[in-house]
């Protein structure tokens, strides 16, 4: 009898415990979501502020109690932004530098990765290790001398100076070599027996198989061109040769230090838009590429 009572009591306790557990579980779920949404708002807020500010008039922007949505939408800010900083030229330069350097860089990377992955030659491993070693050195160390070198070459203020010094990326070669190594060597030997040339084999077999890596490299390289600041700032002297980031920073502040914030925000939105579009469509490749590279640009 008392045994039975004990058992029922025990069961009741268990039920109570599990009910309490359910409550804590629901509470912690809610807290988790609340936290994650709060972070999402913090992450998104600058973008929201950029867009609504870019559509306000300067007077509305300066109100001491800010409006969370523009009273009157001023698309004209975007036109003004485009004219004030000569964004058309900046866009053109950035696209030319980005596309040309990406294409050339891909060719160099594919050829080098192929040599390191498929061909046997003396000193291959030592050379590869030495190349990887240079990745530890901060880029600023190279910049000091490269700045003198391009000056000596007479490359200042040309597209060449913006493209050539950064064509070789050891990291991309490394990434692609790893990818190439996964392709069975038998395929290459079979192709050799059939008399296929290396270039044809690369083009027909290796490149299609390594396409995801190549797409990641392309995107990272393009983003790099879009975001590069220091080198273009050093080597471009005329407004006609500037890249987008260089032209952007000071274009909307007048001599007295007053900044036309709405127009400035419109320019920032224009510059950010292409990156977002690329991200929207190629999210998978970007995130995969980034998780393996760990470098920005």
């Amino acid at each position: 009898m008392s045994d039975k009572l004990n058992v029922t009591l025990h069961e009741k306790d268990l039920k109570k415990v599990s009910a309490a557990q359910k409550v804590t579980k629901a509470a912690s779920k809610t807290l988790t979501y609340a936290f994650l949404f709060l972070i999402a708002i913090i992450v998104l807020f600058p973008f929201y502020w950029m867009i609504i500010s870019s559509l306000k008039s300067l007077d509305e922007y300066k109100l001491s109690v800010p409006t969370l949505f523009p009273r009157e939408i001023l698309w004209h800010n975007y036109v003004e932004a485009f004219d004030a900083a000569n964004l058309g030229t900046l866009f053109k330069n950035t696209v030319i530098v980005g596309v040309v350097s990406t294409l050339l860089s891909l060719v160099i990377t594919v050829l080098s990765a192929f040599a390191f992955a498929r061909l046997e030659f003396k000193g291959k491993n030592a050379l590869f290790a030495a190349l990887l070693g240079t990745m530890m050195i901060p880029g600023e160390l190279f910049t000091i001398t490269n700045y003198q070198t391009v000056n000596e070459f007479g490359w200042m203020d040309t597209y060449t100076v913006l493209i050539v010094p950064f064509l070789v990326s050891i990291f991309y070669i490394y990434l692609l070599r790893q990818n190439f190594l996964q392709i069975p060597n038998e395929l290459y030997l079979a192709a050799k027996v059939d008399g296929t040339s290396d270039i044809k084999y690369l083009w027909k077999v290796m490149i299609p198989l390594a396409l995801p890596t190549l797409i990641s490299i392309t995107i990272l390289k393009m983003m790099g061109a879009w975001n590069s600041y220091m080198w273009p700032n050093l080597v471009t002297k005329s407004a006609e040769m500037e890249l987008i980031t260089n032209g952007l920073r000071n274009a909307y502040t007048d001599a007295s230090g007053d900044t036309n914030f709405p127009v400035q925000m419109a320019a920032v939105a224009i510059v950010s838009a292409p990156l977002f579009l690329v991200f929207l469509f190629l999210r998978k490749y970007i995130m995969k590429g980034v998780s393996r590279s760990g470098i920005k640009g």
Binding site: P46, L119, K122, M136, N227, T245, R249, G294
Partner: protein, 313 residues
């Protein structure tokens, strides 16, 4: 036959890369070392035949130079503040994201957005958010008009507005803004890596902990963190390396003057110091660059040593 044919072919394929590397990577290493040990080296003078004494004067000058110490201090301070904050925050966010089912992918995409931005451009947005627009700035007591949304929020909660980045702002207000911006910028990469690590953790550990009735905090500190330690080590190391090269985020917020109006260059960093000397004092710039390399090298070694001890593979 095939082998020997390959040999010259391999070098042919490597030729473009090797030529470019010789000019833009190997030569700079040699030249930087050479310039750094010529006291007071200056390229323009060298071009007209001036010679410089060999010695370690450049290093000594740089280290004894107060302004370099300021730059070094700024760099280290930003590193020491932003790397732990962003790593811990990213870890908590990643664990939370991993614990929810629906919306997890959607939220992850949102969190990744700061990565695909131009750090100068979005720095300008942050500058606008922290900025004050009004006639009386410069004197903290007279702040009447503010349009900086951050100050509006502070006032909404009953606080006093702070002069964050304008003329007359305090050093620590400036640093706070930089920390907020750098952390905001650093989160996407860290969340991506840590979440990737979490998703590959064996679920059995968690099931065992559940059976034992282990508390959530203990699960986090005794299972999640040790299992994630290789990824944590990775984001901390890359965070420090990136942090020691901090530069463009400061240009984004403060412009090329690297400080608030009236106190330009106050927030300059190691990289900024090197760039300032690049035109006229190549000896000093080279010495500073080598010191930067040395610091990054040592910090990486320390991190590796610590993580080897603490890392649970």
């Amino acid at each position: 036959m095939v082998e020997s044919k390959h040999k010259w072919k391999a070098w042919l394929y490597l030729a473009p890369a090797i030529i470019l590397l010789l000019i833009f990577t190997v030569w700079p290493i040699i030249n930087t070392l050479h310039m750094s040990v010529q006291e007071g080296f200056n390229q323009a003078q060298a071009n007209i035949g001036v010679t410089f004494d060999y010695g370690f004067g450049n290093f000594q000058n740089v280290i004894e130079y107060d302004y370099f110490k300021d730059c070094l201090f700024n760099t280290i301070l930003l590193c020491v503040l932003t790397v732990p904050i962003s790593t811990i925050l990213a870890l908590v966010i990643a664990v939370c994201l991993n614990s929810i089912g629906p919306l997890s992918r959607f939220l992850q995409t949102i969190y990744f957005l700061p990565y695909v931005t131009n750090s100068i451009a979005i720095g300008m947005v942050f500058a606008a958010m922290f900025n004050m627009v009004g006639n009386n700035f410069g004197n903290e007591n007279e702040l009447v008009i503010t349009a900086g949304i951050i100050n509006n929020v502070i006032e909404f909660f009953g606080g006093d507005p702070i002069n964050w980045i304008n003329a007359g702002s305090s050093y620590w207000a400036n640093i706070t803004v930089m920390v907020v911006y750098i952390v905001w910028n650093a989160l996407p990469f860290k969340i991506l890596i840590l979440l990737g690590g979490l998703q590959s953790v064996n679920k059995q550990y968690y099931d065992a902990a559940k059976v034992d009735g282990t508390s959530r905090f203990r699960v986090f500190s005794k299972i999640t963190v040790p299992l994630l330690s290789p990824m944590i080590a990775y984001v901390v190391i890359t965070g420090f390396i990136g942090g020691f090269k901090e530069y463009s985020s400061i240009v984004g917020i403060f412009g090329e003057k690297m400080g608030p109006t009236g106190d330009a260059r106050r927030l300059n960093t190691m990289v900024g110091f090197i760039y300032d000397a690049i035109d006229t004092q190549q000896g000093r710039a080279s010495a500073a660059a080598l010191i930067l390399f040395g610091i990054i090298f040592v910090v990486t070694l320390i991190n590796l040593a610590v993580s080897k001890k603490k890392t649970h593979y």
